[in-house]
Symmetry: C2
Subunit: 366 residues, 2 copies
């Protein structure tokens, strides 16, 4: 029996198709695919993304790192710059699996790793250097001399093993069209390939991993990734109407939704009240009325407002609603504007084929 | 030892002062106070609000209803219109405590209660009727004849016990000034007092409870609540910068914050990166740069953007940041724009005086 509404539902056939397509894209480009699991944060979803293997994933919180390690996953990258107060938890995860990789983007972060107490002598940190390819959020400047110094320090120090370089073209979300997406993807690739070559030339150090990716640049990929070893992305597992607007997917590719029930009819103000508020959907995207609150099979409707525990559904054309079409208790399936944000509001995802709730590692940071 | 950042922290002395002030306001107006616990969803917070009693609260999800019932609370109102698929869980909570009250706002919802199977013969549903006092979201029209019909049906049917009427001036959040707040509070009061009188006159039925409230109208209260028995509010426990803008509180009254650490310095783009993204803060209010991301003790700074797991902190005046003042690892305390939304992103709240994490009933709907 399905859960009480509102609940997050996985449309498994779609997620599996999205995952297969991305695995095929990576294979075609002769790189491995390392899925980011931050969109769904579930074991079931991660296995769909990897094609059934419990290895080779990226997480964005220590809570996720622990969750996946405890569930038997190995070869995990924690793709957020390291700081000192996270060392005790990082050490626990590092000790619990074979290959746990952390990311640094400055010498202070490297120093935190060098100085960590209780690091096993025979198990140095595995470290990648985060590189900025134009996103401007985090990552080292690939042109700066200090970047080579950082790589050298990581390579030389006994507490760290330099594993390679990692970049994320987060600015691809702002691309105006596919042409711009391709250009961002090329810049992403060229940035790390050039840096890997520089590291080889000046330091005689190999980058074991040269990793690029974001859902938009992986969904509309460049024609070759020569010099790159791995691509990473996460949102493509579900996609959402934001990705649809960017050009990464079609509406039919969106693999998660919130199931909600009609609670009451407001004849005076011409809306249907449903039991999905921002606690179940998030308010992200509410400023985009054509992308926020789209309802499967009901193009005539949109969720136009979300309160804490309820939402207002209106007709797109503003005409009077025929309330008899949407009786109280009727269930509607709402597509996410931002799948990561919607899933983050839930503690479990309903898997229809298994008739079970799959735990989500949301709201956990350690 | 405090948790890894980011985490939600309760500033207990402030919350206790907020709660005491609201209890005093209610006492002064000769009504009881029924706190809504949806802002924090914690046992600790609810006890602060009630002044130590495990009774007389309002919840907004069945998950919260179960959570508080299981933690020994009684006299709980579930203040969201009832629909059929929630009956099994409603029945469980109804059976588990002495006084559980549900809300209806139309005859279909009443019918669902009348038709419920497995209702104990000696324990009818306790029902209040939700009344619209101008918010326009849910609630019956107080002027409509059908409202009296609904009350009569609830009063007559053996499956239900009519407990009173309930309204919520949610539109008070949009008030321009305190004068408008007072007017909304007066309308809130007058609406239910007039309806209670009408119910008495036409049906000879007493409203045991006549309940009004919202944090803005309770924080800037009307001068008398004659005819009202109870006021309800929830957000005042914490307050936030949105309430500050409405005029409900001062910045010094805000009782929750997110503790975050500086992760890196971006000299090129002049921002400090912190480990608080929208998964720890929510994106609500990002369109109000003076209210979003205010940092305790650092009026010169704001969190200007939130990504999934990190945030960008900039100077308000746009001048170059003196990064030496905000070293990597430094902790900052960020005030919520919307306390309910920020708390909903967490599974626990850190209570400094007890050095413990208090569970939050977030992300639970059944």
């Amino acid at each position: 029996m399905s859960p009480n509404t509102p609940y997050l539902e996985l449309r498994e056939d779609i997620a599996t198709a999205n995952a297969s397509r991305m695995l095929a894209t990576a294979a075609g480009l002769k790189v491995s695919l390392r899925p980011h699991v931050k969109t769904h944060k579930t074991v079931h979803g991660a296995l769909i993304q990897t094609g059934g293997k419990k290895e080779g994933i990226i997480v964005s919180t220590l809570g996720e790192a622990r969750f996946f390690a405890e569930n038997g996953f190995d070869d995990i990258i924690y793709a957020v710059p390291v700081i000192e107060n996270k060392i005790p938890t990082l050490l626990k995860v590092h000790a619990s699996i074979k290959l746990f990789t952390v990311i640094v983007d400055c010498k202070q972060a490297a120093q935190v790793l060098f100085d960590a107490k209780d690091l096993p002598e025979d198990k140095p940190w595995n470290v990648q250097v985060m590189v900025d390819c134009g996103y401007g959020r985090d990552g080292v400047d690939p042109e700066a001399e200090s970047t080579l110094d950082l790589v050298k320090a990581l390579n030389d120090h006994k507490a760290t093993r330099f594993m390679g370089i990692y970049t994320h073209a987060g600015h691809s979300y702002g691309a105006k069209d596919k042409c711009e997406l391709i250009k961002i993807g090329e810049k992403e690739r060229d940035t790390v390939v050039a840096l890997a070559s520089k590291i080889k030339t000046y330091l005689s150090v190999e980058c074991g991993s040269v990793s690029v990716g974001s859902t938009p640049t992986c969904s509309v990929p460049v024609s070759n990734l020569e010099g790159v070893t791995e691509m990473h992305a996460g949102n493509y597992f579900s996609y959402d109407t934001m990705q649809m607007a960017v050009g990464s997917c079609a509406e039919a590719d969106i693999a998660t939704c919130v199931v909600t029930s009609v609670m009451s009819h407001n004849h005076a103000s011409n809306f249907v009240l449903v039991d999905m508020g921002w606690t179940a959907y998030s308010l992200q995207g509410v400023q985009f009325p054509d992308l926020f609150g789209r309802i499967l099979g009901h193009p005539e409707l949109r969720v136009t407002k979300c309160k804490q525990e309820c939402g207002l559904v209106s007709r797109v054309d503003g005409k009077p609603i025929d309330f008899s079409k949407y009786p109280i208790g009727m269930q509607l399936r709402v597509l996410p504007y931002h799948a990561c944000a919607t899933a983050a509001m839930h503690r479990s995802m309903w898997i229809p084929s298994q008739q079970k709730k799959e735990p989500i590692a949301s709201g956990l940071w350690e």
